[in-house]
Amino acid sequence: MEEGPTTGTSSGAHTHRRLVDAQEQAAATREILEALGRAGAEPGEVLDTIIDRAARMCRADAAQLYLGEDGTFRLSRVAGFVPEEFRRHQQEHPMAMGRDSLLGRVALDRTTQQIADVLADPDYGRHDLQHLAGYRSLLSAPMILDGEVIGILSVWRTQARPFDEGEVDLISTFASQAAIVLRQVELVAALEARSQELAANVRQLEVLREIGDAVSSSLDLEEVLGEIVSGAVRLTGADGGSIMEYDTAADCFLVRATAGGTEDLTARLRELRIARSTSPVGRSAVERSTLEITDLAAVPRDEHLDVLHADGWRSLLAVPLVRRDQLVGALVIRRRSSGGFAAETPELLQTFANQSGLAIVNARLYGELDTKRAELEVASRHKSEFLASMSHELRTPLNAVIGFSEVLLDRLFGDLNQRQEEYLRDIWASGKHLLELLNEILDLSKVEAGRMVLEPSLVSVQACLDYVLSLVRERAASHGIELGLEVADDVGIVWADELRLKQVVLNLVSNAVKFTPDGGRVEVHAERDDGDVLVRVTDTGVGVPPEDRERIFESFQQGRRSTPQEEGTGLGLTLSRRIVALFGGTLWLEPQSDAGGSTFTLRLPLPRIEAAGGSGAAGERTVLLVDDDRASLDLMTAYLSATPVRALHARDGLEALALARTASPVAVVLDIRLPRMDGWEVLTRLKADPVTRSIPVVVVSIVDERQRGLRLGASAYLLKPVRREDLLEALDVPGLGAGLDPVGGGVS
């Protein structure tokens, strides 16, 4: 298709061409971005991709990339057909700024320009280049970075056919992409230069660092000493050396590390027990002096020096290792030749000796610590095992005590007189008390051993408190104590281990009943505070003196509120506080008020809501998906994954109601066949509740009862299997319109 500055083709074909261009350009841009994004992409490859696409998209015969170099531009890469002579010429002779070439003009003006036909341009002065390459129409765009022209992207045609507006735009785009690539290249190069510089510094510090690190941290003393002695030998120009540690118990020196010798020599040295007072090395170390032997053959030798002498060593220098005035060992360097050591060597050696002393002392401390920790671990394990087995062994007979007294109290085998019944009640109550104590000891030991595993789930606070109160109702009634329960409407559910939560609340409530005089009152109150749930247990009992407010949370402390006949394990509050801490919550006793009594408050953290891709945060827009089938939930969650809303899951009707109230979803997707409460009932209740009434509900079901659904207030009714588009349309997700706007309200 021929395109010129004068439009001769029909406007329909022109539009079509524009469309194709736009599509191709988008594809090319995507390719370039992909090339850029590929891990370990070579910048050269990306630039080649760019100029190749530039040539093709601009319908040119060739493209070139020039890079700026001190105000001139040198050819860097080409695409399409570029004669070899031209390429060589341009690489050897960079282009200067000036009006005689298109490159020169672009560099000067910093704009994309073209020459429709170089042979017809009176100002064009580079006919030498034109001869080499044979181009007629030229198009060039500057690559600008931080206001500077860092390169030029250029294309040509060998026939005089000017570039159109679209092509001019294209080359500008490609030029700016190339500039971005070059910036990355620069960044990488700068990074590499910097890391090489750093590497050089690091190498210089390496020896010292190795030794320093090893001394302060390594557990393997011999490895550390090995490094030190090697360093000492290297730096003093000796042929070998060893470090010996003074063993206080055996009163002798033992070789712990060697350098520069055969394995055989090392083995023999390690077998030695070098006496403290009779060996030359030992004696000098004890005297804290340096020992220099210039010729081993000429001096009296102990076993140690004999071994060295026999192995061919002729001279040595030894310095003591001293740490805080304690003799720790000795450092020896040796040479195969006889003769004295340089004057500065003893001082240099002392540096290494200090390091060695430190390493040995550290290692000893570490060893002690390790032994202690191992002992503690064993003790702790024994304790846990003991508690677990004790608890089992004690529980079995206790169960018999409780069971038999229960059988008798129930008069299964005949009537009882008053005293018999009284005693049996005492046996039964004592058994129960012991069992409770055992269970709490076991729980506490589990918490302390870090072995209490929580099994969290969504728990209805109301149901939990109802249950707990039902357990103490009988006892409260027998003492004329009134029980009150008040759960604020917005409490809903929490994310907790239901069994443990009940255990904690039961402990608080039964304590309250226990310490409240006959005719008193115990109240349980639950509310939301800043997203957390607060449960407050208040009694009208004797209260706790201020000085005991913390003490009552310690093991076996009942505080002064207990009276001698009051039973209690003294572990309940300790255990409760530990369990609440495992939930991430807190438990405390409120300061005593003028009204008397005491109030314990339990703060449970924000419910963690199971949401797609992470936990839901407050204020996040969620869609509540209600389905008992995991696969359906996963599918719908996947449908929502590309939208800004999070999916929240409920697996049955009651959970759905609780979540709808607490999580304030922007919409509910509701299945009809659900456990515990079916979808029709859920829908009816959602629409009857002022809190949830305005939340749009989309029914997704295999049951085809559209009319019933819409009559009950559903905003849409979809049949399973549901398609993504249908679900999003029903939820009004594509437009993110009113339906998903928490303020905006319902779906139309």
Binding site: H392, R395, T396, P397, L398, N399, A400, I402, G403, F404, E406, V407, D410, L412, F413, L435, E455
Partner: protein
């Protein structure tokens, strides 16, 4: 004729308690203190229900169950696991091991007859 319940439990006192309570409630009770004795009893006097402790000396509850099911018990005779391991996972494990129900220790003499009645009726725990 009253239903026969076989109780396998190694603690003699607990065994006695369960036996006495069930007898009082009108059941015919066979008692065994080990898995082997339980198998022998089941073979000679076929029970209508088995209460089987999981922690037994010698062959344990799971192995005893396997052998009971392997031709000793008539089809459809429920076997209920009895254990102090009050963990959800233990309950699930007992279920998947093929027990028909699960009784948690301590066994309450007050509720035991009712529970046994339900197991016999096939109601589960």
């Amino acid at each position: 004729m009253s239903p026969r319940v076989l109780v396998v439990e190694d603690n003699a006192l607990n065994l006695k308690l369960v036996r006495d309570v069930l007898q009082h409630a009108g059941y015919d009770v066979a008692a065994a203190t080990t898995g082997e004795l339980g198998l022998a009893s089941a073979a000679s006097e076929p029970p209508d229900l088995v209460l089987l402790d999981l922690q037994l000396p010698g062959i344990d509850g799971h192995e005893t169950l396997r052998r009971l099911r392997d031709g000793v018990l008539a089809d459809g005779v429920p076997v209920v696991a009895v254990t102090a391991l009050a963990m959800a996972e233990d309950r699930d494990r007992a279920r998947s091991a093929g027990f028909d129900g699960y009784l948690e220790k301590p066994i309450s003499p007050r509720s035991l007859p009712g529970q046994v009645e339900r197991f016999l009726a096939g109601g589960g725990s």
